[in-house]
Protein backbone atom coordinates (compact mmCIF):
# COMPACT_ATOMS: atom_id res chain seq x y z
CA UNK A 1 0.00 0.00 0.00
CA UNK A 2 1.17 3.52 -0.74
CA UNK A 3 2.14 5.25 2.53
CA UNK A 4 0.30 8.37 3.66
CA UNK A 5 3.54 9.84 5.02
CA UNK A 6 7.09 8.76 4.34
CA UNK A 7 10.29 10.04 5.97
CA UNK A 8 13.64 9.20 4.38
CA UNK A 9 16.77 9.83 6.47
CA UNK A 10 15.30 12.92 8.12
CA UNK A 11 17.34 14.94 10.61
CA UNK A 12 16.39 18.13 12.45
CA UNK A 13 18.85 20.50 14.09
CA UNK A 14 17.52 23.35 16.23
CA UNK A 15 18.93 26.83 15.62
CA UNK A 16 22.22 27.22 17.44
CA UNK A 17 22.44 23.51 18.36
CA UNK A 18 25.35 21.40 17.15
CA UNK A 19 23.77 18.00 17.59
CA UNK A 20 20.59 17.13 15.67
CA UNK A 21 17.48 16.56 17.82
CA UNK A 22 16.40 13.73 15.53
CA UNK A 23 18.86 11.82 13.37
CA UNK A 24 18.36 9.89 10.14
CA UNK A 25 14.75 8.96 10.83
CA UNK A 26 13.18 6.70 8.23
CA UNK A 27 9.50 5.99 8.73
CA UNK A 28 6.46 4.95 6.69
CA UNK A 29 2.98 5.66 7.97
CA UNK A 30 0.09 3.90 6.25
CA UNK A 31 -3.40 5.42 5.96
CA UNK A 32 -5.60 4.47 8.93
CA UNK A 33 -2.76 3.56 11.28
CA UNK A 34 -2.90 4.44 14.99
CA UNK A 35 0.69 4.92 16.11
CA UNK A 36 2.06 5.92 19.49
CA UNK A 37 5.58 7.28 19.90
CA UNK A 38 7.06 6.76 23.34
CA UNK A 39 10.38 7.62 24.89
CA UNK A 40 12.01 9.62 27.68
CA UNK A 41 12.10 13.42 27.81
CA UNK A 42 14.48 14.78 25.19
CA UNK A 43 14.19 11.69 22.98
CA UNK A 44 13.04 13.84 20.04
CA UNK A 45 9.33 12.89 20.04
CA UNK A 46 7.96 16.44 19.79
CA UNK A 47 10.67 17.37 17.29
CA UNK A 48 9.61 14.44 15.11
CA UNK A 49 5.95 15.58 15.14
CA UNK A 50 6.88 19.16 14.31
CA UNK A 51 9.24 17.97 11.60
CA UNK A 52 6.53 15.85 9.99
CA UNK A 53 4.23 18.84 9.50
CA UNK A 54 7.09 21.13 8.51
CA UNK A 55 7.07 23.43 11.55
CA UNK A 56 10.79 22.76 11.92
CA UNK A 57 13.29 22.89 9.07
CA UNK A 58 14.86 19.50 8.40
CA UNK A 59 17.23 17.59 6.16
CA UNK A 60 16.13 14.52 4.24
CA UNK A 61 12.88 13.86 2.38
CA UNK A 62 9.35 13.94 3.77
CA UNK A 63 6.48 13.12 1.46
CA UNK A 64 2.73 13.13 2.05
CA UNK A 65 1.07 11.20 -0.75
CA UNK A 66 2.69 12.62 -3.88
CA UNK A 67 3.60 15.95 -2.27
CA UNK A 68 7.01 16.90 -0.92
CA UNK A 69 7.06 18.81 2.36
CA UNK A 70 9.84 21.15 1.16
CA UNK A 71 7.83 22.41 -1.81
CA UNK A 72 4.22 21.84 -0.70
CA UNK A 73 4.46 22.52 3.05
CA UNK A 74 1.42 24.78 3.29
CA UNK A 75 -0.78 22.42 1.23
CA UNK A 76 0.38 19.44 3.29
CA UNK A 77 -0.39 21.18 6.58
CA UNK A 78 -3.99 21.69 5.44
CA UNK A 79 -4.27 17.88 5.42
CA UNK A 80 -2.79 17.38 8.90
CA UNK A 81 -4.37 18.28 12.24
CA UNK A 82 -1.82 19.21 14.90
CA UNK A 83 -2.33 19.46 18.65
CA UNK A 84 0.69 20.90 20.51
CA UNK A 85 1.89 19.90 23.94
CA UNK A 86 0.40 21.89 26.85
CA UNK A 87 -0.73 24.95 24.93
CA UNK A 88 -0.94 27.95 27.26
CA UNK A 89 -3.21 31.00 26.93
CA UNK A 90 -3.01 34.07 29.13
CA UNK A 91 -6.25 35.06 30.84
CA UNK A 92 -6.69 38.15 28.62
CA UNK A 93 -6.46 36.22 25.33
CA UNK A 94 -9.12 37.88 23.18
CA UNK A 95 -10.68 34.79 21.66
CA UNK A 96 -13.59 32.57 22.63
CA UNK A 97 -13.68 28.78 22.17
CA UNK A 98 -15.78 28.91 19.00
CA UNK A 99 -13.31 31.34 17.35
CA UNK A 100 -10.34 29.15 18.20
CA UNK A 101 -11.97 25.98 16.86
CA UNK A 102 -12.94 27.84 13.67
CA UNK A 103 -9.29 28.92 13.24
CA UNK A 104 -8.49 25.27 12.60
CA UNK A 105 -10.42 25.60 9.32
CA UNK A 106 -8.94 28.89 8.14
CA UNK A 107 -6.18 27.23 6.13
CA UNK A 108 -8.76 25.09 4.37
CA UNK A 109 -11.19 27.98 3.78
CA UNK A 110 -8.43 29.88 2.00
CA UNK A 111 -7.68 33.53 1.34
CA UNK A 112 -10.38 36.15 0.67
CA UNK A 113 -13.18 33.83 1.81
CA UNK A 114 -15.34 33.90 4.94
CA UNK A 115 -16.52 30.81 6.85
CA UNK A 116 -19.69 29.39 5.31
CA UNK A 117 -22.65 27.64 6.96
CA UNK A 118 -20.89 24.32 6.22
CA UNK A 119 -17.74 25.52 8.01
CA UNK A 120 -19.79 26.54 11.05
CA UNK A 121 -21.55 23.15 11.04
CA UNK A 122 -18.22 21.29 10.98
CA UNK A 123 -16.90 23.45 13.82
CA UNK A 124 -20.06 22.75 15.83
CA UNK A 125 -19.69 19.00 15.20
CA UNK A 126 -16.03 19.07 16.32
CA UNK A 127 -16.98 20.90 19.53
CA UNK A 128 -19.83 18.44 20.17
CA UNK A 129 -17.53 15.46 19.60
CA UNK A 130 -15.08 16.75 22.22
CA UNK A 131 -17.93 17.84 24.53
CA UNK A 132 -16.78 21.46 24.53
CA UNK A 133 -19.86 22.87 22.77
CA UNK A 134 -21.17 24.14 26.12
CA UNK A 135 -18.03 26.28 26.36
CA UNK A 136 -18.41 27.79 22.90
CA UNK A 137 -18.77 31.40 24.15
CA UNK A 138 -16.15 31.01 26.89
CA UNK A 139 -12.87 32.96 26.52
CA UNK A 140 -10.07 30.44 26.00
CA UNK A 141 -7.99 32.14 28.70
CA UNK A 142 -10.61 31.13 31.27
CA UNK A 143 -10.48 27.40 30.48
CA UNK A 144 -8.82 24.77 32.65
CA UNK A 145 -5.84 22.90 31.21
CA UNK A 146 -8.01 19.88 30.38
CA UNK A 147 -10.74 21.97 28.73
CA UNK A 148 -8.16 23.82 26.65
CA UNK A 149 -6.63 20.51 25.59
CA UNK A 150 -10.02 19.33 24.30
CA UNK A 151 -10.58 22.66 22.51
CA UNK A 152 -7.21 22.28 20.78
CA UNK A 153 -8.16 18.77 19.64
CA UNK A 154 -11.53 20.08 18.40
CA UNK A 155 -9.61 22.79 16.54
CA UNK A 156 -7.43 20.19 14.85
CA UNK A 157 -10.49 18.07 13.94
CA UNK A 158 -12.31 21.10 12.51
CA UNK A 159 -9.88 21.05 9.60
CA UNK A 160 -11.18 17.56 8.66
CA UNK A 161 -7.61 16.22 8.55
CA UNK A 162 -6.40 13.00 6.98
CA UNK A 163 -3.99 12.63 9.83
CA UNK A 164 -3.90 13.82 13.42
CA UNK A 165 -0.61 14.61 15.19
CA UNK A 166 -1.11 14.69 18.95
CA UNK A 167 1.63 15.76 21.35
CA UNK A 168 0.95 14.46 24.87
CA UNK A 169 -2.84 14.73 24.49
CA UNK A 170 -3.53 13.23 27.94
CA UNK A 171 -1.13 15.44 29.88
CA UNK A 172 -3.73 17.81 31.36
CA UNK A 173 -6.55 15.31 31.76
CA UNK A 174 -7.83 13.40 34.80
CA UNK A 175 -8.28 9.61 34.54
CA UNK A 176 -11.94 9.82 33.50
CA UNK A 177 -11.21 12.38 30.78
CA UNK A 178 -8.22 10.32 29.61
CA UNK A 179 -10.32 7.23 29.04
CA UNK A 180 -13.07 9.34 27.35
CA UNK A 181 -10.50 10.88 25.02
CA UNK A 182 -8.94 7.49 24.30
CA UNK A 183 -12.41 6.24 23.29
CA UNK A 184 -12.96 9.23 21.05
CA UNK A 185 -9.58 8.75 19.37
CA UNK A 186 -10.47 5.09 18.84
CA UNK A 187 -13.75 6.14 17.18
CA UNK A 188 -11.90 8.60 14.93
CA UNK A 189 -9.37 5.93 13.96
CA UNK A 190 -12.13 3.40 13.24
CA UNK A 191 -13.62 6.00 10.90
CA UNK A 192 -10.35 6.07 8.95
CA UNK A 193 -8.38 8.89 10.56
CA UNK A 194 -4.64 8.21 10.79
CA UNK A 195 -3.33 9.08 14.25
CA UNK A 196 0.25 9.67 15.35
CA UNK A 197 0.47 10.37 19.04
CA UNK A 198 3.39 11.20 21.31
CA UNK A 199 3.27 10.25 24.99
CA UNK A 200 5.86 9.58 27.65
CA UNK A 201 3.63 7.43 29.88
CA UNK A 202 3.16 3.95 28.33
CA UNK A 203 0.16 3.24 30.56
CA UNK A 204 -1.80 5.90 28.62
CA UNK A 205 -1.51 4.11 25.26
CA UNK A 206 -5.09 3.57 24.02
CA UNK A 207 -6.05 -0.07 23.27
CA UNK A 208 -6.83 0.86 19.66
CA UNK A 209 -3.14 1.63 19.04
CA UNK A 210 -1.55 -1.00 16.81
CA UNK A 211 1.98 0.30 16.47
CA UNK A 212 4.41 1.57 19.08
CA UNK A 213 7.58 3.44 18.12
CA UNK A 214 10.20 3.96 20.80
CA UNK A 215 12.63 6.86 20.50
CA UNK A 216 15.82 7.53 22.40
CA UNK A 217 18.39 10.27 21.82
CA UNK A 218 16.79 11.36 18.57
CA UNK A 219 16.63 7.91 17.03
CA UNK A 220 13.98 5.26 16.56
CA UNK A 221 15.18 2.33 18.65
CA UNK A 222 12.16 0.08 18.13
CA UNK A 223 9.11 0.00 15.87
CA UNK A 224 6.62 -2.74 16.79
CA UNK A 225 3.31 -3.64 15.20
CA UNK A 226 0.60 -5.41 17.18
CA UNK A 227 -2.66 -7.13 16.29
CA UNK A 228 -3.84 -6.61 19.85
CA UNK A 229 -2.22 -4.25 22.33
CA UNK A 230 -0.01 -6.24 24.73
Amino acid sequence: MCPLIELKTVSTVYEGAKVPSIKNITLRIQPGEFITIVGPNGAGKTTLLETINGLLPSEGVITVGDMNLKTDGTRIRKRIGYVPQEFICDSLTPFIVEDVVMMGRYGKIGLFKSPTRKDRYIVQEAMLFLSVDVLRRTPVGKLSGGQLQKVMIARALASEPEMLLLDEPFSNLDMKSRSELAEKLTTLNENGLTILMVIHDRSSIPPACRRIITMEQGKIVSDKHFKVMP
Binding site: F87, T93, P94, M103, Y106
Partner: protein, 266 residues
Protein backbone atom coordinates in the same frame (compact mmCIF):
# COMPACT_ATOMS: atom_id res chain seq x y z
CA UNK B 1 -5.31 79.53 11.73
CA UNK B 2 -8.46 77.58 10.94
CA UNK B 3 -6.70 75.77 8.07
CA UNK B 4 -3.88 74.82 10.44
CA UNK B 5 -6.41 73.53 12.94
CA UNK B 6 -8.27 71.49 10.30
CA UNK B 7 -5.00 69.94 9.12
CA UNK B 8 -3.91 69.20 12.68
CA UNK B 9 -7.24 67.61 13.64
CA UNK B 10 -7.47 65.61 10.38
CA UNK B 11 -3.88 64.47 10.80
CA UNK B 12 -4.55 63.58 14.43
CA UNK B 13 -7.63 61.52 13.59
CA UNK B 14 -5.80 59.61 10.83
CA UNK B 15 -2.65 59.13 12.94
CA UNK B 16 -4.81 57.82 15.77
CA UNK B 17 -6.60 55.40 13.46
CA UNK B 18 -3.49 54.04 11.71
CA UNK B 19 -1.28 53.77 14.82
CA UNK B 20 -3.87 52.06 16.98
CA UNK B 21 -5.04 49.70 14.22
CA UNK B 22 -1.48 48.49 13.65
CA UNK B 23 -1.02 48.58 17.42
CA UNK B 24 -3.80 46.04 17.99
CA UNK B 25 -1.63 43.53 16.12
CA UNK B 26 1.69 44.69 17.54
CA UNK B 27 0.44 44.37 21.12
CA UNK B 28 -1.13 40.95 20.68
CA UNK B 29 1.91 39.57 18.84
CA UNK B 30 4.26 40.81 21.59
CA UNK B 31 6.04 42.99 19.05
CA UNK B 32 6.03 46.01 21.35
CA UNK B 33 9.82 46.01 21.81
CA UNK B 34 10.33 45.70 18.07
CA UNK B 35 7.92 48.55 17.36
CA UNK B 36 9.68 50.62 19.99
CA UNK B 37 13.03 50.07 18.23
CA UNK B 38 11.39 50.76 14.85
CA UNK B 39 9.99 54.10 16.01
CA UNK B 40 13.42 55.21 17.17
CA UNK B 41 14.99 53.96 13.96
CA UNK B 42 12.47 56.08 12.05
CA UNK B 43 13.52 59.05 14.15
CA UNK B 44 17.20 58.40 13.33
CA UNK B 45 16.37 57.99 9.63
CA UNK B 46 14.39 61.24 9.50
CA UNK B 47 17.23 63.08 11.27
CA UNK B 48 19.73 61.70 8.75
CA UNK B 49 17.44 62.89 5.96
CA UNK B 50 17.59 66.41 7.36
CA UNK B 51 21.42 66.26 7.61
CA UNK B 52 21.78 65.07 4.02
CA UNK B 53 18.97 67.28 2.70
CA UNK B 54 17.14 64.15 1.58
CA UNK B 55 13.48 63.25 2.12
CA UNK B 56 13.25 62.65 5.92
CA UNK B 57 10.11 60.52 5.49
CA UNK B 58 11.72 58.19 2.95
CA UNK B 59 14.75 57.59 5.16
CA UNK B 60 12.52 57.16 8.21
CA UNK B 61 10.69 54.36 6.40
CA UNK B 62 13.96 52.75 5.24
CA UNK B 63 15.46 52.84 8.76
CA UNK B 64 12.31 51.64 10.43
CA UNK B 65 11.70 48.68 8.14
CA UNK B 66 15.44 47.99 7.92
CA UNK B 67 15.52 47.42 11.69
CA UNK B 68 12.61 44.98 11.49
CA UNK B 69 14.22 43.03 8.66
CA UNK B 70 17.69 43.03 10.24
CA UNK B 71 16.56 41.86 13.64
CA UNK B 72 15.91 38.18 12.84
CA UNK B 73 19.21 37.43 11.04
CA UNK B 74 21.15 39.53 13.56
CA UNK B 75 19.74 37.68 16.58
CA UNK B 76 20.39 34.38 14.81
CA UNK B 77 24.00 35.16 13.84
CA UNK B 78 24.90 36.65 17.21
CA UNK B 79 23.06 33.79 18.99
CA UNK B 80 21.56 36.31 21.42
CA UNK B 81 18.01 36.77 22.71
CA UNK B 82 15.91 39.10 20.54
CA UNK B 83 15.31 41.48 23.46
CA UNK B 84 19.06 41.99 23.93
CA UNK B 85 19.47 42.86 20.25
CA UNK B 86 16.44 45.18 20.46
CA UNK B 87 17.90 46.94 23.49
CA UNK B 88 21.15 47.55 21.61
CA UNK B 89 19.32 48.69 18.46
CA UNK B 90 17.12 51.04 20.46
CA UNK B 91 20.06 52.76 22.15
CA UNK B 92 22.00 52.83 18.87
CA UNK B 93 19.13 54.44 17.00
CA UNK B 94 18.35 57.07 19.60
CA UNK B 95 22.08 57.93 19.77
CA UNK B 96 22.34 58.13 15.98
CA UNK B 97 19.21 60.27 15.84
CA UNK B 98 20.61 62.75 18.37
CA UNK B 99 24.02 62.78 16.63
CA UNK B 100 22.32 63.46 13.28
CA UNK B 101 20.24 66.26 14.82
CA UNK B 102 23.46 67.74 16.19
CA UNK B 103 24.99 67.68 12.71
CA UNK B 104 22.18 69.71 11.18
CA UNK B 105 23.48 73.25 10.51
CA UNK B 106 22.06 75.74 13.01
CA UNK B 107 20.24 77.63 10.30
CA UNK B 108 18.41 74.46 9.37
CA UNK B 109 17.79 73.41 12.97
CA UNK B 110 14.25 74.50 12.46
CA UNK B 111 10.95 73.42 13.87
CA UNK B 112 10.99 70.59 11.29
CA UNK B 113 14.07 69.08 12.92
CA UNK B 114 12.65 69.39 16.39
CA UNK B 115 9.24 68.15 15.33
CA UNK B 116 10.61 64.72 14.41
CA UNK B 117 11.80 64.47 18.00
CA UNK B 118 8.78 65.88 19.90
CA UNK B 119 6.06 66.09 17.29
CA UNK B 120 4.37 69.27 16.13
CA UNK B 121 0.94 70.42 15.09
CA UNK B 122 2.69 72.75 12.65
CA UNK B 123 4.21 69.72 10.93
CA UNK B 124 0.89 68.75 9.36
CA UNK B 125 0.56 69.65 5.70
CA UNK B 126 -2.05 68.74 3.10
CA UNK B 127 0.40 66.20 1.67
CA UNK B 128 1.07 64.55 5.02
CA UNK B 129 -2.65 64.36 5.80
CA UNK B 130 -3.29 62.78 2.39
CA UNK B 131 -0.48 60.27 3.02
CA UNK B 132 -2.05 59.36 6.35
CA UNK B 133 -5.45 59.02 4.69
CA UNK B 134 -4.08 56.58 2.11
CA UNK B 135 -2.27 54.67 4.85
CA UNK B 136 -5.36 54.45 7.09
CA UNK B 137 -7.57 53.28 4.24
CA UNK B 138 -4.88 50.78 3.21
CA UNK B 139 -4.62 49.35 6.73
CA UNK B 140 -8.42 49.06 7.06
CA UNK B 141 -8.57 47.33 3.67
CA UNK B 142 -5.77 44.90 4.54
CA UNK B 143 -7.39 44.08 7.89
CA UNK B 144 -10.75 43.53 6.21
CA UNK B 145 -9.29 41.27 3.51
CA UNK B 146 -7.12 39.14 5.81
CA UNK B 147 -8.87 39.43 9.15
CA UNK B 148 -9.24 35.69 9.68
CA UNK B 149 -5.57 35.05 8.86
CA UNK B 150 -4.49 37.85 11.22
CA UNK B 151 -6.79 36.45 13.92
CA UNK B 152 -5.22 32.99 13.62
CA UNK B 153 -1.71 34.44 13.73
CA UNK B 154 -2.58 36.61 16.73
CA UNK B 155 -3.82 33.52 18.59
CA UNK B 156 -0.69 31.51 17.77
CA UNK B 157 1.60 31.94 14.81
CA UNK B 158 2.79 28.36 15.15
CA UNK B 159 -0.73 26.92 15.16
CA UNK B 160 -1.77 29.17 12.28
CA UNK B 161 1.17 27.80 10.29
CA UNK B 162 0.24 24.25 11.34
CA UNK B 163 -3.31 24.71 10.05
CA UNK B 164 -2.08 25.61 6.57
CA UNK B 165 -1.74 29.39 6.66
CA UNK B 166 1.52 30.68 5.23
CA UNK B 167 2.17 33.12 8.07
CA UNK B 168 5.43 34.65 6.87
CA UNK B 169 3.93 37.12 4.32
CA UNK B 170 1.35 38.30 6.86
CA UNK B 171 4.00 38.73 9.54
CA UNK B 172 6.19 40.79 7.23
CA UNK B 173 3.17 42.75 6.04
CA UNK B 174 2.53 43.81 9.63
CA UNK B 175 6.19 44.76 10.13
CA UNK B 176 6.03 46.77 6.91
CA UNK B 177 2.80 48.53 7.95
CA UNK B 178 4.28 49.23 11.38
CA UNK B 179 7.36 50.81 9.76
CA UNK B 180 5.31 53.01 7.43
CA UNK B 181 2.85 53.98 10.15
CA UNK B 182 5.66 54.98 12.49
CA UNK B 183 7.33 57.05 9.78
CA UNK B 184 4.08 58.79 8.70
CA UNK B 185 3.19 59.58 12.31
CA UNK B 186 6.54 61.18 13.16
CA UNK B 187 5.44 64.67 12.19
CA UNK B 188 2.54 64.80 14.59
CA UNK B 189 3.69 62.69 17.54
CA UNK B 190 7.49 62.69 17.17
CA UNK B 191 9.98 59.84 17.13
CA UNK B 192 10.33 59.59 20.88
CA UNK B 193 6.67 59.02 21.62
CA UNK B 194 5.02 57.66 18.48
CA UNK B 195 5.10 54.21 19.93
CA UNK B 196 2.90 55.23 22.87
CA UNK B 197 0.15 55.86 20.35
CA UNK B 198 0.54 52.33 18.99
CA UNK B 199 0.66 50.47 22.25
CA UNK B 200 -1.55 52.42 24.66
CA UNK B 201 -4.89 52.63 22.76
CA UNK B 202 -4.66 49.00 21.62
CA UNK B 203 -3.67 47.80 25.10
CA UNK B 204 -6.61 49.77 26.54
CA UNK B 205 -9.05 48.18 24.07
CA UNK B 206 -7.76 44.71 24.99
CA UNK B 207 -8.90 45.30 28.59
CA UNK B 208 -12.58 45.33 27.63
CA UNK B 209 -13.32 42.55 25.18
CA UNK B 210 -12.63 38.96 24.14
CA UNK B 211 -13.79 39.74 20.63
CA UNK B 212 -11.02 40.75 18.19
CA UNK B 213 -13.53 42.48 15.89
CA UNK B 214 -14.65 44.75 18.72
CA UNK B 215 -11.05 45.37 19.79
CA UNK B 216 -10.14 46.31 16.22
CA UNK B 217 -12.98 48.85 16.18
CA UNK B 218 -12.52 50.24 19.71
CA UNK B 219 -8.74 50.58 19.46
CA UNK B 220 -8.76 53.30 16.73
CA UNK B 221 -11.61 55.10 18.50
CA UNK B 222 -9.41 55.35 21.61
CA UNK B 223 -6.47 56.31 19.39
CA UNK B 224 -8.44 59.21 17.85
CA UNK B 225 -9.63 60.29 21.30
CA UNK B 226 -6.02 60.35 22.54
CA UNK B 227 -4.86 62.42 19.56
CA UNK B 228 -7.68 64.98 19.70
CA UNK B 229 -7.37 65.35 23.48
CA UNK B 230 -3.58 65.55 23.19
CA UNK B 231 -3.82 68.31 20.60
CA UNK B 232 -6.31 70.23 22.74
CA UNK B 233 -4.02 69.99 25.77
CA UNK B 234 -1.05 70.95 23.63
CA UNK B 235 -2.91 74.07 22.40
CA UNK B 236 -4.23 75.06 25.80
CA UNK B 237 -1.13 74.36 27.90
CA UNK B 238 1.50 75.04 25.24
CA UNK B 239 3.02 71.58 25.65
CA UNK B 240 4.67 69.42 22.97
CA UNK B 241 1.92 67.59 21.12
CA UNK B 242 3.63 64.16 21.25
CA UNK B 243 3.99 64.36 25.02
CA UNK B 244 0.39 65.46 25.45
CA UNK B 245 -0.89 62.56 23.34
CA UNK B 246 1.33 60.08 25.20
CA UNK B 247 0.11 61.43 28.57
CA UNK B 248 -3.55 61.13 27.58
CA UNK B 249 -3.09 57.62 26.16
CA UNK B 250 -1.23 56.51 29.29
CA UNK B 251 -4.01 57.89 31.49
CA UNK B 252 -6.62 56.06 29.39
CA UNK B 253 -4.61 52.84 29.64
CA UNK B 254 -4.32 53.22 33.42
CA UNK B 255 -8.08 53.75 33.71
CA UNK B 256 -8.74 50.78 31.39
CA UNK B 257 -6.65 48.46 33.56
CA UNK B 258 -8.48 49.61 36.69
CA UNK B 259 -11.94 49.30 35.11
CA UNK B 260 -11.26 46.17 33.05
CA UNK B 261 -14.04 43.58 33.47
CA UNK B 262 -11.52 40.95 32.31
CA UNK B 263 -9.48 41.46 35.44
CA UNK B 264 -12.37 41.09 37.88
CA UNK B 265 -12.45 37.72 39.61
CA UNK B 266 -15.48 35.45 39.62
Amino acid sequence: MSELLILAVSGAILTGVSCSLVGSFVVRMNLSSLGFAMSHAAFAGAALGLVLSLDPLGLAIVFSIGVALLLGPLAEKANLPTNVILGVIFSLMISLGLVFLNLIPQTAMSSVALSILWGSILGMTVTSVLRLLVLSVGIVLIYWLFFKEFQAIMFSRKLAEASGINTRPFYYLILFLTGITVAFSLKLVGGLLVFALMVNPASSAYQFSYDMKKITIVSPIIGVLCCISGIAISFLADLPVGSSIALVSSAIFGAAVVLSPKRKRG
